[in-house]
């Protein structure tokens, strides 16, 4: 009887052990698209990337065999206006299975993928992410859609638009603009009223 109990205990323990292993295997799924590049490698590689300027983009826009534009904005923004021949993949859906298949197809076809958002900053992180999971053919449209579309006069992303040091020490551009002499305030002259005393009149 005593021996029987021991066996039962051990079988229960084995069962639990197996269960834990099974759960562990099920939960610990490897990501479908793991990073193939570490952050450090990516950082070291960054200066080697030649991104696409607006002018280049306009030139290669019709070359649909070698270049494809990916619009990262929402479908509504895409609907309003987008670069001709662009494909709309909102940032949130970049890693969906079908999109990964699409990117793989582009990679195999040696097609350069040009990412763009409304501003350039919206495509920076997606570019790094896609490059790190194994799509080195991804590039960024410099200046983003707002520059391509000509909405923004200055397309100098990354550069300083003000003379920082000068402004912070000398008191502001606006002040120098307004350096024209301020209208001179006329002095208010308070007329002194001379009390005109009545001439001495004859007394009493």
């Amino acid at each position: 009887m005593h021996e029987l109990l021991k066996t039962q205990r051990i079988s229960i323990a084995v069962l639990f052990f197996g269960l834990i292993l099974l759960i562990g295997l099920m939960v610990n799924k490897a990501p479908k698209t793991p990073f193939t590049m570490t952050a450090t490698e990516m950082l070291a590689n960054m200066p080697n990337f030649e991104h696409i300027t607006v002018n280049t983009a306009k030139n290669v826009n019709s070359d649909t065999n070698n270049y494809v534009f990916i619009d990262l904005r929402s479908p509504y923004d895409f609907e309003v206006k987008h670069i001709a021949n662009a494909v709309n993949i909102p940032t949130a859906f970049l890693l969906d299975d079908e999109n990964i298949e699409l990117f793989t197809a582009y990679l195999n076809n040696n097609t350069t993928v040009i990412l763009y958002g409304q501003a350039e900053r919206e495509s920076i992180s997606p570019w790094i992410l896609l490059t790190e999971i194994g799509f080195p053919n991804t590039k960024v449209l410099l200046g983003g859609f707002e520059c391509y579309n000509g909405n923004k006069p200055k397309c100098m992303a990354g550069s300083a638009q003000y003379n920082y040091a000068k402004i912070s020490t000398s008191g502001g551009v606006k002040k120098t603009n307004n350096a024209t002499p301020a209208p001179v305030k006329k002095k208010k002259v308070i007329p002194v009223k001379k009390k005109v005393k009545a001439a001495a009149e004859g007394g009493c």
């Binding site: 952050a39 960054m46 200066p47 992180s125 402004i167 912070s168 007394g203």
Partner: protein, 207 residues
């Protein structure tokens, strides 16, 4: 019965010894691509210039500003209290202690969002915590804090409040706006106070 007992015990032993030969688990520092994509999609990382200005003025002790531009640009101008870590040096071991921690709020900034976004996404991928980006970078900082624009006549009270905050902040950060500068150095003209001469009444004929 005895056989079954031995078999189970052996099975248990085999499974247990299997644990010994598990591959070394990589120290899980990197987050997964899908998790990173969620963070990229979220806008929580972008802190407005007004918020940062307020925190600098308040002397927030957990604020840690990281200037990711080059050293020359940093020397030319930087936010008060900022530390210069050029983007290319960001992942050097020298800086790991500064960037990989869970006490301070790290705010990356560059001239605009481009460099800071790169710094943010690389650190985020490595699983670092409390990472933020100065929304619009220094260009936005100068457009709003250093050179605030006066709201129009019909603007709401909030806009006027914001403007007065920004005007105050611009003085704090060392750039006066037009009005402030003019007020600071008024051309002193001697006020001529017209002296009233008392015209004495001539002696009048008394009685």
């Amino acid at each position: 019965m005895q056989k079954r007992y031995i078999f189970l015990a052996l099975l248990f032993l085999v499974m247990a010894s299997g644990l010994l030969f598990l591959p070394d688990m990589e120290k899980k520092t990197q987050i997964e691509p899908s998790a990173l994509l969620n963070d990229i999609h979220s806008n929580n990382r972008r802190l407005s210039t007004d918020e940062i200005a307020k925190r600098i003025i308040d002397g927030d002790p957990i604020l840690f500003l990281v200037d990711v531009r080059t050293e020359a640009e940093f020397n030319n101008y930087s936010l008060p209290g900022a530390v210069n870590i050029p983007l290319q040096d960001l992942l050097n071991e020298d800086w790991t202690g500064y960037v990989d921690q869970d006490i301070l709020d790290i705010i990356f900034y560059g001239n605009d969002d481009i460099l800071s976004e790169q710094a943010w996404v690389l650190c985020k991928q490595l699983g670092y915590q409390n990472l933020y980006v100065l929304d619009g970078g220094l260009n936005q900082w100068f457009a709003t804090i250093m050179l605030p624009e006066k709201p129009g006549e019909l603007a709401s009270n909030e806009e006027f409040d914001l403007f007065s905050f920004r005007t105050g902040a611009s003085i704090f950060f060392g750039s006066g706006t037009t009005e402030i500068a003019v007020k600071a150095k008024p051309k002193k003209e001697k006020k001529t106070i017209p002296v009233r001469k008392k015209v004495k009444a001539e002696a009048e004929g008394g009685c």
